[in-house]
């Protein structure tokens, strides 16, 4: 576009449907959109992007050492997600590439959604909706009781910006909050459990909102679910692989746990067939961040970081390499 011809070049990769920041980026930068090319990505990068210094990744394209090897001039990788388990951080560190994420942009929406899933599972809202729509209410009458929400003990796994907002929401329901995270946080007024097994044993509901790392992969295994117990409910707004999905399905079918509310899956958008038939689960198409408000937030952060980068100002939400 004419008004941006002198603007810095920015590489963009996004799923075809996620066009929400195209317009504002095009207004401010020369955008090289990897998605509009029919070439394989490495060839596209070699041909067009070898001089690119800034790369915006919307979605979860794996940013591997191989991809990075095609971008020798890259200095900043802007991820529009909160989780960055799709990025080879060690390789970014080795190459001196700064990485930023969306930090708090989605916290309110993800927390709202986590509480929505919790209410939906305990009070059987989507199941009730199906019951009415199928005509069963008129034909069969009474619908099974739900489970009381107020007073429930809720254990939050990962007490970052999302976890703390979930706790604030659930306080209004008189829920009893406790948490597990890498370390105890003295400023937090809730009971801390140093391991997820004791968190599960002492709660009615587990809410997963930690990041996916080698340490948290399958953090919810069969033992944790047995510990949570037959009326226990799991809510997952983190990543699918936080749970051993195969074991969870067995536990849901056999009544080892009571139910689950799942916004994420191990192999999404593929969801195991058995889950689709269960009435004690609420399934969601990775929607926890999906509001216009969240998209506006992340667009704003991306734009601010690109402007900061090209004018040598401090970045927002830069990821610290361990």
């Amino acid at each position: 576009m004419a008004e941006a011809s002198d603007s810095p070049l920015v590489l963009l990769h996004r799923p075809p449907s996620l066009t929400f920041m195209d317009e504002i980026l095009n207004r401010n930068f020369r955008i090289l959109n990897a998605d509009t090319s029919s070439e394989p990505l490495p060839i596209f990068l070699d041909r067009h992007a070898s001089s690119v210094r800034a790369f915006v990744v919307v979605g979860r394209l794996p940013i591997t050492a191989e991809i990075l090897s095609h971008l020798p001039s890259l200095q900043i990788l802007i991820c529009t997600s909160v989780g960055i388990n799709h990025v080879d951080l060690a390789e970014c560190m080795r190459r001196g590439i700064a990485v930023t994420n969306a930090r708090n942009a989605f916290s309110d929406d993800v927390a709202d959604f986590a509480v929505g899933l919790l209410l939906s599972v305990l009070r059987r809202i989507p199941t009730g909706d199906r019951y009415v729509r199928s005509g069963d209410w008129e034909k069969l009458g009474g619908f099974p009781l739900g489970s009381k929400v107020s007073g429930k003990r809720v254990g939050i796994v990962g007490f970052g910006s999302i976890g703390s907002v979930i706790a604030k929401r659930l306080e209004g329901f008189d829920c009893v909050i406790s948490y597990n995270s890498r370390s105890e946080k003295p400023s937090i007024p809730y009971r801390y459990f140093p391991d997820i097994l004791s968190l599960a044993a002492n709660n009615d509901v587990l809410v997963l909102c930690c990041s996916l790392t080698e340490q948290t992969h399958h953090i919810v295994n069969r033992e944790v679910m047995e510990s949570l117990g037959k009326d226990g409910v799991i809510i997952n707004v983190g990543r699918g692989s936080l749970i051993d999905e195969k074991e969870m399905i067995k536990c849901l079918v056999d009544g080892v746990i009571g139910g689950a509310g799942l916004d994420v899956f191990e192999n999404e958008p593929a969801v195991p067939e058995e889950l689709l038939r269960l009435d004690n689960v609420v399934l969601s198409p990775h929607s926890a961040v999906a509001t216009q408000g969240s998209l506006d937030n992340v667009t704003e952060i991306t734009l601010a970081n690109l402007k900061a980068f090209f004018s040598n100002q401090p970045l927002l939400f830069q990821v610290q390499f361990d």
Copy 2:
């Protein structure tokens, strides 16, 4: 039962499925269960119940002057519901029959459910659940955005025990609360609107939790919905007839309002065919009170009121005749 043969006689009417307080009532009183008889109710009452002084009504059997005429000795009518629009209060007053309701027994559960419906509609949770279960997520990908919950302006219609708990819950979501009720309540920190039209004009969501009276029948009419506007959402956990249901369906179909979460209907359990096909509504089989916790509460209140009545102690939650 032997241990109760000297106990006072209590008449009980309940839907066949609502057996939850049978056992404890039978343990304490001689229960005359109108539901187990195949006779028409007036004949049953004339034959068995003319000496009955206490009547427990679980559910919404219309307690008309005609029914009351078959119970000349009746002194107390214990309703296990909060709403008592099924009772001819004027006739009870004329006959000197005390009436009690469930007052706060369900407030927490109904408030939880109202917030659950609000989250379900705005964040499209049951619609997303259908999208995943149908296989559309895997086939078609992306699911439409939901609407942000935090920061929404929510107008509560009827600020009694349920409305105040809903407000407390929604404060945790940083919602902006206002309300309408018969009169302004100086102790309430929220903005008061003297009429529902101005409440609708100044809010994104209306939550109905007032009782159904002649004054509140169809309180949500077309004008109110036009005032609420095209992104507006209505949540109803009160009674179906608070809304002009026919007009609401037109407004939902034509985009005059954005969506609705409905636990009650004008002619339930019959639900208008057109509603069953809409994706911007969440439908629920009158489940807002349906948890074991609520049933335990109302059983306890019923038992306490029967004991109080038969020992001339003050009643709990006696309805004041205007």
